[in-house]
Symmetry: C2
């Protein structure tokens, strides 16, 4: 596999799973005061559009990466609205 | 411009500028307790790799989007370390 592709795959994993520790922290602490509601509204809307984009192009990596990010983003958004 | 391209551009703007309200909130409130340190370490590292990936491919959209996200991510990370 080309070095560029490997760098891209590691980059995709890091920026996708970056949301995992934030999701776990919100579930554990039930505290969301310092988390921006507008960030997670924009992120959730953006990731849904990336998902539609991936489906229209039939690009499995775009679909999978954004499905995973969508799960984290929706959980954080719902808990932000619940615990605000 | 194709519908798919327009959807992709809107998606890119949303997921890039989603970090702006969070950055402004942290600067304004100086409070970062509920923000995950590991999220912004992984996000910053991932965005740097996306930037290298974009430079290696000479893809201006990837370079610009990740430069913008890098600015927001580094500000949040530095303020998280400062106000923890």
């Amino acid at each position: 596999m080309a070095t560029t592709t490997i760098i891209g795959l590691i980059a995709a994993c890091l920026t996708t799973f970056a949301f995992l520790p934030q999701t776990l922290q919100v579930i554990r602490t039930k505290e969301t005061k310092n988390i921006s509601l507008n960030m997670y509204i924009a992120m959730t809307a953006g990731v849904i559009l990336w998902l539609i984009y991936g489906i229209l192009l039939s690009e499995i990596p775009i679909i999978i990466a954004n499905l995973v990010t969508l799960v984290f983003s929706v959980i954080i958004l719902v808990l932000k609205l619940k615990y605000k």
